[in-house]
Every structure is written in structure tokens, then in C-alpha cells.
């Protein structure tokens, strides 16, 4: 029996923090399409259940479009059992809305609440598994682990949404004390909240995993994204991460040491992108690093405008440092020389740190040579 473990889709996210309005809307639609795609994958692969470990939606308010899409996808796949656990973001009225539209929740859509709820899932091959879940909140977070009682003779999957003590999420979530869930007969602890995929051993019997978000939304969610496929048979349980994101987000470092020409910089960025596997459909943040000449001006907007047609989204961050050889300015009689010598004295006197010294030298020099961009 195959089961899909997904979470943190954050449907209906605003996304305009990192993207333009049009791109944000496009990505919102892609996120919705991703949900449908995951269900389609499940159907084509013969998966019999989909675990949604929280944050299916990003906010309490859910747009009509998202509601229609999700509800129609679920109701249109009666052969797949959906296990829906709410997270710290989607505490909205999705379930009530679903109920009011459909009259009652379909039997293949199963929900949880703040108390442990267990369901039996029997596969077409006869394997049986118990799926238990609870929604952590401030009321039950302390006692939840201790109140979990499972039949050790059954194969058990447990759903939770929150952060483990050692992995910090983007926002505050309830803490899941992993050690309290050891030796409870759990074969697979399906977690949500952390957006990067993680698979770790829980105890001698089972493992826990954050499947991560299936589609990254910002430059803090770089790398492959997808979902977990859990395979259950009479011998046991196996987990495989399936990369599935339509667009991968990359954060690449590009060393432009010695370069001063924008075109050279652009080419260096392209080469780095190619080496990193960035495709035209992907989002890329290029961090420019290395040492550049003091009077080199990096035209970020120009570079971005040149690269944008080749990638879905481009962000340029300048983290270069000016190459300053103070010796070059020892005999420089110009104001620039005077300026650098002065700063060197301040640096030597400990009145300035290296980074600040190099920054203000770069700034001052650029200004004196005519760069008015502050």
C-alpha cells in the first residue's frame, strides 16, 4: 500500500514579499495546481491515502478559487483517503466550508482535532495500518505525548504539526518533544511545519520525517522540494522522498573577484547558475561575493534586468568586498589617497573595524569617481 505524506502547501499565500504582483499571482495558481498534481500522482501511482500534515492553507481567509479547487480535487478522488491535519496557519473554516458545500464531509476525507483520533486504513493488498493524529495547541502540547497509546502489534503512522526542539521553523509553532514519542510503537511520525525535507530515526522501530513543502515560496526555501511516498507491506514500511516542485529555488554564491565589467559579472553569474543546475523555470538568488576593485560599481538592477528573461525570478545581492591595498595609496597625493590613508589610520587605531573601513572606503571612492548611486 502506498501513502503520500505532504504538508505546508500554504495555499493562497500572498507571495508578494519576494515576487512581483503578477508573479505572485502566477505562483499562487501554481501552488494550487501543485496540490492537484500531487493528488494526480497519487492516483496514477495507486496510492490509497494522502496525509496532509498541516498548513494546507496559509491563512484563515481562503479564497473561493482555492476552496473550489481543493474541494473538487478531494471529492473527485473518492478512491483516495485524505487525512487532513490543521497547522498553525490553516485554522480557518475550511472544514466547515467543506461541510456546508457538500452537505457532510465525504467519508474519504478524515479530520483530526486536539485529541488523538485514530483511523484504520486497509490497503487493497490486505495490509492494515493505523493512522493517528492530533492537532497540537497550547492546551494540549504538554500532555499530548503522554496520552498517546498505540497498539504495538499494528503498523502505526502518527501525524503532527509543529517543530522539534532542534529544528526551528520560519515562524513559531508548537514544540514536539521527539524523545517523548520514542518507544510508543510508532513506525512513521509524519510531521509538518518545517519546509525542508528531513528524515531521521525516531527509535529502534520507526522514523520521523518532515516532508517539507512541495513547492518553495521564497529564497529561504531553496533546494529540492516534494513529498514523501510511504510504502507499506507485510514486511514493514519504507519511505522515499520524491522531488516534485515545478520550480526549484536556488541561492548561489558567485565569486566575481577581479571583475568590474557588468557583462563579465553577468556571464559569471550565468556560468555559476549552469553549474548549479538552475533552469529557466527556476528562481535564483545570486549572491555576488569576492573582492572587487574599489572603484568598481555593481549595477544590480541592470544585471537583474539582463538575467530576468532567462530565469523565472532573479534576485541579485551584493556581498562583495572592495579590494583595498593600502600600500597603493601611500603616495597618492589626491583626496582619494588622503581619504584612504585617514581611514587606515583609524583602522589601525581601532576606531573602525575592517568591514566598516572597507565599506566606507569603497563608498567614498565610488562617490569621488562619480558614482552617485548611494
Amino acid at each position: 500500500m502506498k501513502i503520500i505524506h505532504t504538508a505546508d502547501l500554504h495555499l493562497d499565500s500572498n507571495l508578494e514579499r519576494n515576487l512581483s504582483k503578477s508573479r505572485a499571482e502566477e505562483r499562487r495558481n501554481e501552488l494550487l495546481a501543485m496540490f492537484r498534481s500531487i493528488v494526480g500522482y497519487a492516483a496514477s501511482e495507486g496510492a490509497e491515502a494522502i496525509l496532509i500534515a498541516g498548513d494546507l492553507f496559509d491563512a484563515s481567509f481562503i479564497s473561493r478559487t482555492a476552496l473550489d479547487a481543493v474541494i473538487s480535487t478531494i471529492t473527485g478522488n473518492p478512491g483516495i483517503t485524505f487525512y487532513y491535519l490543521r497547522g498553525n496557519h490553516d485554522e480557518g473554516a475550511f472544514v466547515e466550508e467543506f461541510k456546508s458545500r457538500a452537505g457532510k464531509l465525504p467519508e474519504h476525507f478524515r479530520t483530526f482535532d486536539e485529541n488523538w483520533t485514530s483511523y484504520e486504513q486497509t490497503g487493497s493488498d490486505g495490509t492494515r495500518i493505523t493512522i493517528t493524529g492530533a492537532e497540537i495547541n497550547r492546551r494540549n502540547s504538554v500532555t499530548l505525548a503522554t496520552s498517546l497509546v498505540l497498539d504495538n502489534d499494528r503498523m502505526n503512522i502518527v501525524l503532527l504539526h509543529g517543530q522539534t526542539a532542534d529544528i526551528k521553523g520560519k515562524d513559531d509553532g508548537e514544540i514536539i518533544p521527539i524523545r517523548d514519542y520514542r518507544n510508543k510503537g510508532i513506525d512513521y511520525l509524519a510531521l509538518g511545519h518545517i519546509h525542508a525535507p528531513v528524515i531521521e530515526r525516531l527509535d529502534s522501530r520507526g522514523m520521523y520525517s518532515y516532508c517539507g513543502c512541495p513547492e518553495g515560496r521564497g529564497f529561504d526555501e531553496c533546494g529540492e522540494r516534494g513529498f514523501n511516498v510511504i510504502t507499506v507491506d507485510h514486511d514493514g514500511l519504507g519511505v522515499e522522498f520524491v522531488p516534485y516542485a515545478k520550480r526549484v529555488i536556488y541561492d548561489i554564491n558567485v565569486d566575481i573577484s577581479g571583475l568590474s565589467d557588468s557583462e563579465d559579472i553577468i556571464q559569471r553569474i550565468k556560468d555559476s547558475a549552469l553549474n548549479s543546475g538552475v533552469c529557466s523555470k527556476d528562481l535564483m538568488k545570486a549572491k555576488l561575493t569576492g573582492e572587487i576593485m574599489i572603484d568598481t560599481v555593481i549595477h544590480k538592477e541592470y544585471i537583474k534586468s539582463v538575467l530576468e528573461p532567462e530565469y523565472y525570478v532573479v534576485k541579485i545581492v551584493d556581498e562583495t568586498r572592495p579590494h583595498i591595498d593600502y600600500n597603493d595609496f601611500t603616495n597618492d597625493a589626491s583626496l582619494k589617497g588622503e581619504y584612504v590613508r585617514l581611514i587606515k589610520e583609524e583602522l589601525d587605531a581601532g576606531n573602525l573595524d575592517e568591514e566598516t573601513a572597507s565599506e566606507i572606503i569603497q563608498c567614498g571612492i565610488r562617490l569621488l569617481v562619480g558614482d552617485s548611486n548611494l
Binding site: 484563515s60 473554516a93 588622503e338
Partner: protein, 784 residues
């Protein structure tokens, strides 16, 4: 460089004004309001163009606003000047078409010259307008020396890299503007605004906690209400079930009577059954046994009767024998007589033998027999009929009693039983009488036949007179035979009687055994009547028992059918008591009321939940808003942090650039100090200024030593400051213009000078006029 002449077409309040100038000091004495300052400005504008673009309303800085003619028409003029041995005519006309663009002509050829551009001032003097105003343009409103700028410093210095220095002011301005723009102190500053925004967001976000609490509270409230609804629904379900149960109970209570009737009847029937059963002290015989007993008793009776009949027959036969003996004797006598008679009759009609008396005798015999039988029959059947009558009457009476007085099933049953017994007895009696009648008829027929035969014989007597003797003989013989036959009959009958007696004995034994079996003890029964009565009684008892059993079973079956159709009554079988209908009714009503209450509560709760849902949705949107705000706040903080970092960087850059600049220009400040000292000496010698100590710092700022420390000259009196400013300007001009010196425009510079110092001022003018062309404007002759 010197001004040869000028012509003002229109400029401010000056119109069509021409002036010529010579080398050295050119003094223009005009009254106040004439336009001296305007003229001075005209000279400046001709070289540097109008200033203050974009600041339209401030005439102090907007030359166009200030100097445009009131009629709004074109304004401008021309200057003829000489520089580097060449004379030029410079014209500017500020009209819509030309927009004040400088037009330069070679004064000799009047052809347009491209030696200088529109930026002729800077190209000629090597300094910008600001620098010009700080040096060669001495306006009485702007005499005081407030420091040099980088252009001046650049001109003053011989050091390489002056481009940097030239650019310094722009950089400094850029940085200053950036600081202002990004300021976190000025209200218009981006950082200030950003911090205000952040502060606003933080304040706004303070409400988040409350909103979150309200949201949690609303959710909790909603959850509680849902939970309460669940409880109410459970209670309602229980109450609905209770209503159903009460309805059933009500139906049960209402129908309990039916059950009672059935139950009572069943109990009654059971009691009757057991009564009837207990009537048997011993075993309960079967019908077959009773019947058999009755049959064998009847048989015994028959046998007895038969014996009686046989005995009567024997007696009769004996009588008959006696009679026959008699008759034989008689016959013999008669034979004798007959023979006598025969002998006599042979003489008589043999056919008159028969007499009616013989017939009568035969008839008497028959009648007597019949009478005896009838009597017996009457006797026996009468008993039956009597008994039947009693029972029938008794039955009727009991039924009547039952209907009239007390409906008692026992009485009714008894009556019916009596009636049935009576009928049975009647039937038995009738059967008996019939049988006897049959016997009688048989006997009668027999007798009749005998009578007939006797009569026939008698009639044949006469005819057979002859034969009478024979007949008599035959008769006697017959009598003898008959007597023998009768004796034989008697013997057979006796045999039969004995056999019957044995059988009767056997039967009686069986009957006794039967009585013991059924009664538990031997009952002394004196006669068959009693036995019959006993058997009948047993039979009746058994019938009653059977009936009772049947009725009991029927009642039981009826009860079971009733219970099957109404299983709810099983509880009563199990001993449950039946609540009163009234109680059930009350309970029912209370339950209904409670259900109504629950429904109302549920409706109200649903309304409240609806409101809570709205509230939750609204609060949810608020939380989304706060979430977005929080993200915005993070972004703003990040932006603020970045801006602060940038601001600090820019401030430091500006600070260090300024320091570097000061250090840089300090290298060339000594020539300026020398010339300043020179001019200060002139002033001091002229008694205008005291011999104070001054210093010029790296920024070309002037400071005076007082009380051991140096102070800005801004704190000096106007007169002194002005003079110091003039000295400084000329010191700078001396250093800036080593070759081609510019004209100096002085617009009443001594306006603040004490009258007693004016002579000194004039002397100063004379001394500087030796080096420069001075265009000196004043409104007071004393200052000339």
C-alpha cells in the same frame, strides 16, 4: 579680466541702463532703491545665469522671480568684457524662446564666439557661482566669510587630484542630502518615517495578542457551544427515546387491561385446571380407560341384565315347564279326556277347538311379560332420564345464575358441564330405552308369533281333533320335548348366566382396580349405579380436567399470542409493575417540554455559533492582517537596519571624506593665511580692525583667537565680521587668481562699518583697486 561696459535691457527695476567701466576702482553712487544690488546681480547673472531654479516662491533665492519685470516680458542685457587680451560681448535674454542662454560675440568682429559656453562664469573664473559669491562678489547682505567650498579650495590648492576635491562638494552635498533623506531625526527623513512606520506597526501589532486571545476565546466558546449542543443532542436523543418508551408505556398502560384480562383468564384457567387435576387423588385415567371401564361395566350390566333376563327366562321357562308339565298333565288328562273327547270329539267339530280364552291367555302372558319388561325398562331408563333432567336443570340454573348474578367462569363452566352431563345422560337413557324397546318388540314379536302359532294350533285343534290326540300326544310329546327343550334352555341359560357371572366378576375386579388407581383407594361401591356414578364422576372429572386443560392451554396460547403481538408485556410477565397512565402522561409532557427547551436552546446556540463564526472569521482575517503586518514589520525592520547601516556608512563616509578633505586642503591653506594677514594688516593699519590673531583651518574656516582659544568670526560684530570677510575674500582671490584676476563686485560692503572707519575702508579699496578692477556700488557718498 575686466568689465568694459554693460547694458541692461531689462533686469529687475533696471531698464535700458548702460555703464562704462575702467580699470581699478569704479564707484557707482546711487540712492537707495535705485537698483544697485540689482545691477550687481545682473553682472553675476550674466556670467552665471539665473539661480534658484525650482524654488519659485522664494525670491531671495530665485533670481527669475526676483528680477523678472513685473510685466513678465523678456529681460536681460549684455556685458562687454576683456580677458586674456580679447574683448567679448556677452548677452543673455531671458525670454521664452532663448531661456537666457548666453550669447557670446567677439567684440571686434561681433561674430558669435564659441570660446566660452553658456557656463561662461565657471570657465572664465574657474569657480562656480557659489564660489564666486564667496569671493569676487561682495554683497552687503553676504559679506561675512562663512568658509570656503571645495571649488575655492581646489582653486586655492596646487595639489593634483583636484578633480576629487572639485567633486567633494557635490559628494558632500550628496551625502548630506542622503543623510537628510535618510535621516532618523528629521520628520521628513526616510529612516524617521520608517521608524515611525515600524513604531506604528508595532503598536498595531500589540493588538494582535489581544486579537489572538479574542480569537482563541471565540474558538473556545464556539467549541464549548458545539460541545454543549452535542450534549443537548444526546439528551434530546435520550429524551426522544424516552418519549417513544413513554408512548409505548402509555400504550402498554392503556392496553394493560387487555393483558389483565388475558392474564386473569389464564390464571383462572390454570387454577381450574389444577383444581380439576387435584380432584384425582390417584392417577388420572385416560378416556380410553374410563371408556373401557364404562364399557366393561356396561357389559357387566348387560351381563347382569342378561342374567336377570336369563333368570327370568329360566323362571319363565321353569314356569313354562311347570305349565308344560301341567299342560302335559292336563294334556295327558286332556288326552285322556281328549281321547275321551276324541272319542267324544270324533263325534264333535274338530274345528271348534280354539277359543278366545286361549288367545286371551296368550295375550295375558305376553302382556305380563311386556308389562314386566316395560316396567323394568321404564325403571332403568327412568333413572337415566331423571338424572339427565337433574343435570340439565342444574346446568340451566347455573348458567342463569352466572348471567344473572355473578359472571363467574367457574359457575358458568359448571353450568355448562352439568348441561353437558345431562345431555349425555339423556342420550344414554334414550339409548337404553330404545334398546329395551327393541328387546320388548323382539319379545313381543316372538310372543306374537307364539300366540299366533298357539292360536293356529288351537285352531288346528279342532281340525286336528283327530290329530289332537295325536296332537295331544304330539303335544304332550311336544310338551315333553318342550319341557326338555326348556330344560335345555334353562341349562344353557344357566350356563350363560354362570359365564356371565364370571365375566361380571372379572369386570368388577377391573372396575375395582380402576377405582383404586384413580381414587387412590378402593371405593366401596355397592351397586352398579354407584359404580356408574363413580365412573361417570371420573369421566366427568376427566372431561372437566380435559376441558380445563384445554381451556387453560387455550388461555395460555392466547396469552402467548398476545405477548408475541405485544412483547412489551413480557416485562409484566417478568414482574414489572405498570405505571399509572396519569403518571406517564405527566412524564411525557415534561419530557416534551424539555425537548422543546433543548430545541430552543440549540437554535439559540446555533445563532450564537453563527455570530461566533462571523467573529472568528473576522478575527481570523485580522490575524491574517496582523500576520501580513508582522511580515511587513520584519521587512521594515530589515529595511531600517539596512538603512541605518547605510546611513552610518554614509555618515562615516562623509565624516572621513570631510576630514580627508580638510587635511588635504590644509596643505594649501598657508598662502591664504599669508594674504589674509596682509589684508588684515591693512585693516589694522587703517584702524578698522584690531590686530588680533586669526587662524584658518583646513576647511578654510576663519577663527579668531580670544581668551586663549579660537572662535568662529560669526560671533564678531557685523562691522568687524564684514571687514574680516572682505580680507578673507581678497586673500582667497589672491591665491586663486595668480594670473588673470577677475573683476570684484562690491555692493555697499561697508554699510555696517562705523563712520570713523570709513576712511580706512576707502584706503583699503584704493589698495585693492591696484590689483583688481573693483565695481563699487554705494548709496552713501561718505562711503565713496
Amino acid at each position: 579680466m575686466k568689465i568694459i561696459k554693460l547694458h541692461v535691457e531689462k533686469f529687475g527695476n533696471l531698464t535700458d541702463l548702460s555703464m562704462d567701466f575702467s580699470d581699478g576702482l569704479n564707484q557707482v553712487l546711487k540712492e537707495n532703491g535705485w537698483g544697485k544690488s540689482t545691477l550687481a546681480a545682473f553682472l553675476r547673472v550674466m556670467f552665471y545665469g539665473l539661480e534658484g531654479k525650482g524654488i519659485k516662491k522664494d525670491i531671495s533665492v530665485n533670481d527669475r522671480t526676483r528680477y523678472m519685470p513685473w510685466d513678465g516680458g523678456a529681460f536681460g542685457g549684455s556685458i562687454t568684457f576683456e580677458v586674456n587680451g580679447k574683448t567679448y560681448i556677452l548677452s543673455r535674454n531671458y525670454s521664452d524662446k532663448t531661456k537666457g542662454k548666453a550669447f557670446l560675440q567677439d567684440a571686434g568682429t561681433l561674430l558669435e564666439s564659441n570660446d566660452y559656453s553658456d557656463n561662461i562664469g565657471e570657465e572664465l573664473f574657474g569657480i562656480d557661482s557659489d564660489s564666486f559669491k564667496k569671493t569676487a562678489f561682495i554683497d552687503h547682505n553676504n559679506i561675512r566669510y562663512l568658509g570656503a567650498n571645495s571649488k575655492i579650495a581646489s582653486r586655492v590648492s596646487d595639489l593634483p587630484g583636484m578633480d576629487d576635491l572639485d567633486r567633494f562638494d557635490q559628494v558632500d552635498r550628496l551625502l548630506s542630502e542622503y543623510e537628510v533623506k535618510l535621516s532618523n531625526i528629521r520628520k521628513t527623513g526616510a529612516l524617521y518615517k520608517l521608524n515611525e512606520e515600524i513604531h506604528g506597526l508595532e503598536n498595531e501589532l500589540k493588538k494582535r495578542e489581544k486579537t489572538e486571545e479574542e480569537l482563541e476565546a471565540a474558538k473556545e466558546e464556539k467549541r464549548k457551544k458545539f460541545s454543549y449542543i452535542d450534549e443537548l443532542m444526546k439528551e434530546r436523543k435520550a429524551l426522544s427515546d424516552k418519549l417513544v418508551s413513554l408512548s409505548e408505556e402509555r400504550t402498554v398502560a392503556a392496553n394493560y387491561k387487555n393483558y389483565s384480562v388475558v392474564k386473569e383468564e389464564c390464571l383462572l384457567r390454570e387454577e381450574t385446571y389444577f383444581q380439576k387435576k387435584n380432584a384425582f387423588a390417584g392417577d388420572i385415567p385416560s378416556d380410553a380407560e374410563i371408556q373401557e371401564c364404562s364399557d366393561i361395566l356396561r357389559k357387566a350390566e348387560e351381563k347382569k341384565l342378561q342374567n336377570e333376563i336369563l333368570e327370568r327366562d329360566i323362571a319363565s321357562l321353569k314356569n313354562d315347564i311347570n305349565t308344560l308339565e301341567d299342560r302335559k298333565q292336563e294334556g295327558e288328562k286332556a288326552l285322556g279326556q281328549k281321547e275321551d273327547a276324541l272319542s267324544r270329539m270324533k263325534d264333535k267339530n274338530p274345528f271348534e277347538v280354539y277359543s278366545k280364552s286361549d288367545e286371551r291367555d296368550g295375550n295375558n302372558e305376553t302382556d305380563e311379560f311386556a308389562e314386566m319388561l316395560d316396567l323394568k325398562i321404564s325403571k332403568t331408563s327412568s333413572l337415566f332420564f331423571a338424572a339427565a333432567g337433574i343435570f340439565l336443570l342444574g346446568g340451566v340454573i347455573l348458567v342463569l345464575i352466572n348471567f344473572i348474578m355473578n359472571r363467574n367462569l367457574l359457575i358458568l363452566g359448571g353450568g355448562i358441564v352439568c348441561f353437558i352431563i345431562g345431555l349425555v345422560l339423556f342420550i344414554l337413557g334414550s339409548m337404553r330405552k330404545k334398546k329395551e324397546h327393541a328387546l320388548i318388540l323382539s319379545a313381543e314379536r316372538k310372543l306374537a308369533k307364539e300366540r299366533e302359532a298357539a292360536a293356529f294350533k288351537k285352531q288346528e285343534k279342532l281340525l286336528n281333533a283327530e290329530n289332537d290326540r295325536k296332537l295331544l300326544q304330539t303335544e304332550i310329546k311336544g310338551y315333553e320335548e318342550r319341557i326338555a327343550a326348556d330344560k335345555e334352555k334353562i341349562r344353557l341359560k344357566i350356563e350363560t348366566i354362570e359365564q356371565n357371572s364370571v365375566e361380571i366378576g372379572e369386570i368388577e375386579k377391573n372396575v375395582r382396580e380402576f377405582s383404586v388407581k384413580t381414587n387412590g383407594a378402593n371405593i366401596e361401591l355397592s351397586d352398579y349405579e354407584e359404580i356408574h356414578a363413580f365412573i361417570q364422576k371420573i369421566g366427568i372429572s376427566l372431561s372437566e380436567l380435559r376441558l380445563a386443560e384445554k381451556e387453560y392451554l387455550a388461555a395460555e396460547e392466547k396469552k402467548q399470542i398476545f405477548l408475541t403481538e405485544h412483547p412489551e408485556y413480557m416485562q409484566f410477565e417478568e414482574g414489572r409493575s405498570v405505571p399509572a397512565e396519569e403518571e406517564i402522561g405527566k412524564e411525557y409532557k415534561l419530557t416534551q417540554e424539555r425537548i422543546t427547551e433543548i430545541n430552543e436552546s440549540k437554535e439559540k446556540l446555533n445563532e450564537e455559533i453563527g455570530l461566533l463564526a462571523h467573529q472568528i472569521e473576522s478575527l481570523g482575517r485580522d490575524m491574517d492582517y496582523y500576520h501580513a503586518l508582522s511580515e511587513t514589520l520584519s521587512d521594515k525592520k530589515e529595511e531600517a537596519k539596512e538603512s541605518e547601516k547605510n546611513l552610518r556608512k554614509m555618515k562615516l563616509t562623509r565624516e572621513y571624506l570631510t576630514k580627508a578633505k580638510n587635511r588635504f586642503v590644509a596643505k594649501y591653506m598657508s598662502p591664504v593665511k599669508d594674504r589674509f594677514d596682509y589684508y588684515m594688516d591693512i585693516m589694522a593699519n587703517a584702524g578698522i580692525l584690531p590686530e588680533d590673531e586669526y587662524q584658518i583651518d583646513a576647511g578654510l574656516s576663519l577663527q579668531k583667537k580670544e581668551l586663549g582659544s579660537y572662535h568662529e568670526i560669526a560671533y564678531q560684530s557685523d562691522g568687524y565680521s564684514d571687514m574680516i570677510g572682505i580680507c578673507m575674500r581678497f586673500a582667497l582671490l589672491d591665491v586663486m587668481f595668480k594670473q588673470e584676476k577677475p573683476m570684484i563686485i562690491m555692493d555697499d560692503p561697508f554699510i555696517n562699518l562705523d563712520a570713523n572707519h570709513l576712511e580706512g575702508a576707502k584706503e583699503f579699496l584704493k589698495s585693492v583697486a591696484g590689483e583688481y578692477q573693483i565695481l563699487y556700488f554705494t548709496c552713501h557718498e561718505d562711503r565713496m
